[in-house]
């Protein structure tokens, strides 16, 4: 007959093994859930890329600069276009206005 010490040793080893196994299972299922989250993120990224493809002129310069920044260094920095609505009044002209010397 097993004495009490052996019994408890068996029980403790068995319990430890069970708990370890359970932990492994739980960890594995968490990883799977994490992958699913990453997939959603990828879907989101795909959505962003789709909108980039449909970008209008104001985004053109951003894409254009990124595409060409790895090419030969032209030493030039083109940023995004800025748009303004035409004003109802203008500044007074000086000697160096584009229109003053017709």
């Amino acid at each position: 007959m097993m004495n009490k010490k052996v019994k408890w040793s068996v029980i403790s080893v068995t319990s430890a093994a069970f708990l370890t196994f359970a932990g492994l299972v739980a960890g594995n299922s968490n990883e799977k859930n994490g992958d699913m989250n990453k997939t959603s993120q990828i879907d989101q990224d795909s959505t962003l890329n789709d909108s980039d493809l449909n970008s209008n002129d104001s985004d053109f310069n951003q894409d254009f600069v990124q595409d060409h920044s790895d090419e030969q260094d032209r030493g030039s920095t083109w940023g995004q276009d800025h748009a303004y609505q035409s004003p109802s009044e203008g500044f007074s002209q000086g000697h160096s206005s584009s229109g003053v010397s017709r």
């Binding site: 083109w78 609505q85 035409s86 009044e89 203008g90 500044f91 007074s92 160096s96 229109g99 010397s101």
Partner: protein, 301 residues
């Protein structure tokens, strides 16, 4: 700063920071150039070139040879959307004499422009001798004004003048730092933007001033060099900052000719040190390009 002005090339040439003796030299420089290079002056060196026969060597005046070479360099970079062989197309659309506010066009319809431009119509034997391969006429247009303003700048720099500005009908060059203005194309006599440029040039091309009627339609003086047709995109006026006036003029014309996306792609590739200020037909303004070429931009509200 000293201010002065004189008339030349159908414009009022405005000078800032230039002493009277140098003002006279500049006036003479502009006058001599106009006498040679204007297609509106009879019996000059340009008319001689235009009337020369085909397939024989033609001698080219030294100044015009330099102008031609610089014009061709730019034309090749912009795929000939702007080029100096455009005279017949200009006559065809009614631009036959020097423009003024009461301008009445005369039209010289011709068959010389029957297909899209694909090849330079001259052979350059040397820098001073050419052969004309087919019928065309030279019109240096904006190239010419840009060229002479650049030459004037060169003269000032050689004389160690380090703070001056020359404004020739909207084509201007700044030596040192100067505030310049871009005219509002719909509110003539006012500026839509003010900014500072330093040791750079700014040129402005527009469709709203030099225009006239052809039947029921309004036409203007900016022609697509590849098709010979009046340019028809969404840009009313383009102002461009570049290193030289010739370059700025060429780029401004490109913005007035090509669809905006195509123009930006071409200019970014061939002239990356450019800033542009565009006025569109929907009364929107676009500012873009290299913002390091100017400072303290103010936009009217």
């Amino acid at each position: 700063m000293i201010e002065a002005e004189f008339k030349a090339m159908n414009s009022t040439i405005k000078l800032l920071g230039i002493e009277p003796a140098m003002q006279c030299k500049l006036k003479e420089l502009f006058s001599q150039f106009e006498q040679k290079a204007s297609r509106f002056i009879r019996n000059n060196e340009l008319e001689y070139m235009n009337k020369s026969p085909l397939h024989v060597p033609v001698h080219v005046d030294e100044t015009l040879a330099d102008l031609l070479e610089k014009s061709l360099q730019l034309s090749r970079k912009v795929d000939y959307y702007v080029h100096p062989f455009i005279g017949d197309a200009m006559k065809s659309i009614g631009y036959n004499h020097s423009f003024h506010l009461e301008y009445i066009p005369t039209f010289e319809k011709n068959d010389s422009w029957t297909e899209d431009f694909f090849e330079e119509p001259i052979e350059q034997l040397t820098s001073r001798w050419i052969i004309k391969k087919r019928h065309f006429s030279f019109d240096f247009g904006g190239f010419g004004k840009g060229y002479i303003v650049d030459q004037a700048r060169k003269l000032l720099v050689q004389e160690n003048i380090n703070n001056a500005l020359i404004n020739a009908g909207g084509d201007l060059t700044a030596i040192g730092k100067h505030q310049v203005g871009i005219e509002h194309p719909m509110l003539i006599g006012t500026d839509i933007m003010k900014l500072y440029i330093e040791n750079h040039a700014m040129a402005t091309s527009g469709k709203h001033y030099r225009k006239w009627r052809d039947g029921h339609n309004f036409v203007h003086h900016i022609v697509n060099g590849q098709t010979g047709k009046v340019a028809n995109n969404h840009v009313v006026q383009a102002s461009v900052i570049a290193k030289t006036v010739m370059e700025a003029e060429t780029i401004a014309k490109i913005f007035c000719i090509l669809p905006l996306v195509q123009a930006k792609a071409l200019i970014y590739e061939k002239f990356p040190k450019t800033a542009y200020f565009l006025y569109l037909i929907n009364d929107q303004m676009i500012v873009g390009g290299d913002a390091t070429l100017y400072e303290k931009l103010e936009v009217a509200t």
